[in-house]
Symmetry: C2
Subunit: 175 residues, 2 copies
């Protein structure tokens, strides 16, 4: 369902586009929010066209098909955005690592948390770059801000956790 919403949202925000364009848009603007490759996007667009949410506006060179959102599609999009209940389906491998951290000895745990921290920092840097002046964000300024806050929360967690693990290590060595 949400893949449909993401596609409708992109079509609504940026105007008609091909599946190829939409796949590119996922890569460069939506990727910190939702992920999808072309193998998922192409069949979905066909189904959405069957359901009257989008239509092939024109066909270009190399079999290029330009899809446009229909009024029905726009209505569904609006409905979802306004009416969707926040459902927190969390499935984070990093959080799972964090959950099981106490099963590791201190040195392993420190190594794991350092890796998580480095990853979060590079993600943070990437997002900061996206938001820097000059970069065009047709939409998604709010989502970028959310992404930044979440990445910072992860970095902060890693730092706090490293501090705790460092203390634990020191007290073990003292013993």
């Amino acid at each position: 369902m949400s893949l449909r919403i993401a596609l409708l949202g992109l079509l609504d925000a940026t105007g008609p586009a091909s599946g190829y364009d939409l796949a590119k848009a996922f890569e460069k603007s939506l990727n910190h929010v939702w992920q999808a490759g072309h193998t998922q996007i192409y069949p979905e667009l066909v189904k959405m066209a069957e359901d009257g949410l989008v239509e092939v506006e024109s066909e270009g060179a190399r079999g290029r098909k330009i899809y446009a959102i229909t009024p029905e599609g726009a209505a569904r999009l609006h409905e979802w955005l306004v009416g969707h209940e926040p459902s927190v389906v969390i499935r984070s491998e990093t959080a799972l690592q964090a959950f099981l951290l106490s099963l590791l000895d201190v040195d392993d745990a420190i190594a794991v948390v350092r890796r998580i921290k480095a990853d979060a920092e590079s993600r943070l840097a990437g997002l900061e770059c996206l938001g820097s002046p000059g970069s065009e964000l047709f939409t998604g300024r709010f989502a970028l801000d959310l992404g930044l806050r979440q990445a910072r929360a992860m970095v902060d967690w890693a730092e706090a956790t490293l501090a705790v693990l460092g203390e634990r290590k020191a007290s073990l060595q003292g013993a």
Copy 2:
């Protein structure tokens, strides 16, 4: 793959347990980290037993089967925890809503963000409750801290966004 890890982690941390027990454990301790119902857990345990990662230690009343982690399973768990590269597969419906917020008029946007805020606050309250003294957290203190930070980041984002939207609304009315 990660479902296996979560199950191995629970078995390693708390000792032998039935599929039923593990499903309960998911509900009450892992649910803010990974989610899985019994229909996913039971078949997975069978496959894991075939792969030698767990074994049926004993059978109790009502067809109850107690699974225990094998040395092989413990080795795989350790390997994953230490070696797993952080892969950020983000698929957050809330972030998608945030991304498309500018497609809504200001009042709708405010309503959506308020709902997100309320949801994040109740999640935060639930986590704070889990962490309160007296509650037994056999493992997962670090994951709880991470969850708290992420929930707080969401609440902060909602507040900041509401402030921006409020200003936007005021300037529209002034015009």
